[in-house]
């Protein structure tokens, strides 16, 4: 009874703290997350809010290849927010770090401050196609959507697909993952799927020595 009461009090007083778990045992590096992110957020060429890095350990015949999906870690202590001179980078109550585009002057200091390389800035929208061809109708549409949401010259980043999660949906990369390697949820709720997974499988963060306290955890094969 006490536990139920405690849970009710928490749900009323504590806002969700969104986080993500990426199960590296399931990820096989198909880049579906990268593509889904680009499709959902209409990011310009060269901008990958959701990336996949590859690594290899050992030598033949005992070599292991491992994929590592990387995105904005929505850090508890984001160094990008710390260095932002204008206050454009902010952390919402739900823990998601956002960029207020009308406040960003494009100094790119946040790009230098993020040790995970999660931030991007583009000076101009270049076509995917060669030889100086004009933008295709799809690119024109993407550019228009991008400029409304982020804009050229603004240092942008992943926001866990804020527009989707505010509608109760999951981020595009989570929905698209064919291996169900990505789990999105409330980090502050001890009974949420991600909290249980982090505890049960001893989830780890990337480079904890950076001190940013990321909220993206990785489950690693043992």
């Amino acid at each position: 009874m006490e536990k139920v009461a405690e849970k009710i009090i928490r749900s009323e007083s504590v806002m969700s703290q969104y986080g993500m778990v990426i199960d590296l045992k399931r990820c096989y590096g198909c880049y579906a997350c990268s593509m889904a992110c680009k499709t959902a957020n209409h990011t310009p060429p060269g901008v990958f809010w959701a990336r996949v890095l590859m690594s290899e350990v050992g030598t033949y015949p005992n070599a292991v290849r491992q994929a590592l999906p990387v995105l904005c870690m929505q850090c508890e202590e984001p160094s990008c927010m710390e260095v932002c001179p204008t206050g454009a980078t902010q952390k919402r109550d739900d823990g998601i770090v956002i960029v207020e585009k009308d406040k960003c002057m494009g100094c790119k200091y946040c790009i230098m401050a993020c040790p995970y390389g999660a931030r991007y800035s583009v000076e101009k929208w270049e076509s995917y196609f060669p030889d100086g061809l004009p933008l295709s109708p799809l690119e024109e549409f993407q550019k228009k959507v991008w400029e409304e949401k982020s804009g050229v010259g603004v240092a942008t980043k992943c926001d866990f697909c804020l527009d989707k999660i505010s509608e109760g949906k999951k981020p595009a990369c989570v929905e698209a993952c064919p291996a169900k390697a990505r789990i999105f949820g409330d980090h502050s709720d001890p009974d949420s799927e991600i909290s249980i997974l982090i505890k049960k499988e001893r989830g780890q963060v990337l480079n904890p020595e950076f001190g940013n306290k990321p909220k993206v955890y990785y489950l690693f094969p043992r």
């Binding site: 590296l24 890095l53 590859m54 690594s55 350990v57 491992q66 590592l68 990387v70 160094s79 710390e82 260095v83 932002c84 001179p85 204008t86 206050g87 454009a88 009308d102 406040k103 960003c104 002057m105 494009g106 100094c107 790119k108 200091y109 790009i111 230098m112 401050a113 993020c114 040790p115 995970y116 390389g117 800035s121 000076e123 196609f129 060669p130 030889d131 061809l133 804009g151 050229v152 010259g153 603004v154 240092a155 780890q204 990337l206 480079n207 950076f210 940013n212 990785y218 690693f220």
Partner: protein, 324 residues
């Protein structure tokens, strides 16, 4: 190239920021030397006048380069909003205060007789002291700005601000010598150049020590080591900076000192050559430190994920036949 030295480099801060850091350093260095000279000499000396004429314009032009690098230059006025945590915001206030002080000092020194009265002289001295504080702040800030960038391990060194302060003083010193050589009366420059050549040589030696210490510290850790190896493979750095930006000016300054000592005359072309090379060296240093900033290796449970540098390849043509 060694296959291990292939980490992804930052590409968002380029030569516009390098010029900004350089001019900020030149302005700060020139002002500090000019203001100190104004205390030590009873009568207004040429080095003070030249230094004041360099400081404010250098800062102004440097700021133009910084604004030109912004993604949204029209929002530059927001730059000082968060001085509590951001070094760009702090730097904005430091440089703004320094620009105002250096401009007021220049006007009072050049266009008024305020310094001739005791009250006026006190006022100028107060401005000069405050100006020196903000000038040192500007020189140090250009290094601290980089040192506070968590995403570039090469810059995350307490030695970077020291290197930048020393280099800023050297470039400021050379800028003053260049200005004096171009605009001063040759006969009156023998004694000043004798002293200044020795000072310049000493400062260059200090810069050599600072940069060697910085690189040696970088070689001790894997991520900064990547950048240190890259910087030492750059001809621009080894030949442009070490040889022509440090060694040659050092040799020329020692030569100038010995000539002045022996003959009692000075060699203006030597001053001009040494000063220009020293200034170019200061710019190369900043550009090299910026462009060799490699991203850190990400690691988890024994796996290392290095972000690999891939040079931008030209896009292939569509439906184009190879040239016949």
């Amino acid at each position: 190239m060694d296959p291990k030295v292939n980490g992804q480099l930052q590409h968002d801060w380029g030569w516009l920021i390098a010029v900004y850091l350089f001019l900020g350093g030149v302005g700060g260095g020139a002002y500090t030397i000019a203001a100190i000279n104004s205390f030590t000499d009873a009568s207004p000396v040429l080095s003070t006048t030249v230094g004041l004429w360099i400081a404010f314009p250098a800062l102004l032009v440097g700021t133009v380069f910084l604004i030109a690098d912004l993604g949204s230059p029209t929002r530059a006025f927001l730059a000082g909003m968060k001085p509590g945590t951001s070094w760009i915001a702090r730097g904005t206030w430091i440089i703004s205060a320094f620009m105002v002080l250096s401009f007021v000092h220049l006007i009072l020194h050049q266009y008024t007789n305020v310094g001739e009265t005791s009250g006026g002289a006190t006022l100028i001295n107060v401005i000069a002291v405050a100006g020196i504080i903000f000038a040192i702040g500007t020189m140090a800030y250009t290094g601290i700005l980089l040192g506070a960038s968590k995403g570039i391990p090469f810059w995350r060194s307490g030695i970077v601000p020291v290197v930048f302060v020393v280099s800023a003083t050297v470039t400021g010193h050379f800028a003053i010598m260049l200005g004096m050589a171009l605009f001063g009366d040759t006969a009156g420059l023998v004694m000043p150049f004798k002293t200044m050549a020795l000072e310049a040589a000493g400062l260059v030696v200090l810069e050599v020590l600072a940069i060697l210490f910085f690189l040696q510290a970088a070689f001790r850790q894997p991520d900064p080591r990547e950048s240190a190896e890259r910087i030492l493979r750059k001809r621009m750095f080894v030949i442009g900076y070490f040889l022509f930006g440090l060694a040659v000016p050092l040799g020329l300054m020692l030569f100038l000192y010995s000539i002045t000592l022996e003959t009692g005359s000075t060699k203006i072309p030597v001053v001009i050559t040494g000063a220009i090379l020293g200034l170019i060296g200061g710019l190369i240093l900043r550009q090299a430190v910026l462009i060799c900033g490699a991203l850190p290796t990400l690691n988890i449970a024994g796996f290392e994920f290095r972000r690999i540098h891939r040079p931008k390849e030209p896009k292939p043509g569509i439906g184009m036949l190879p040239p016949q």
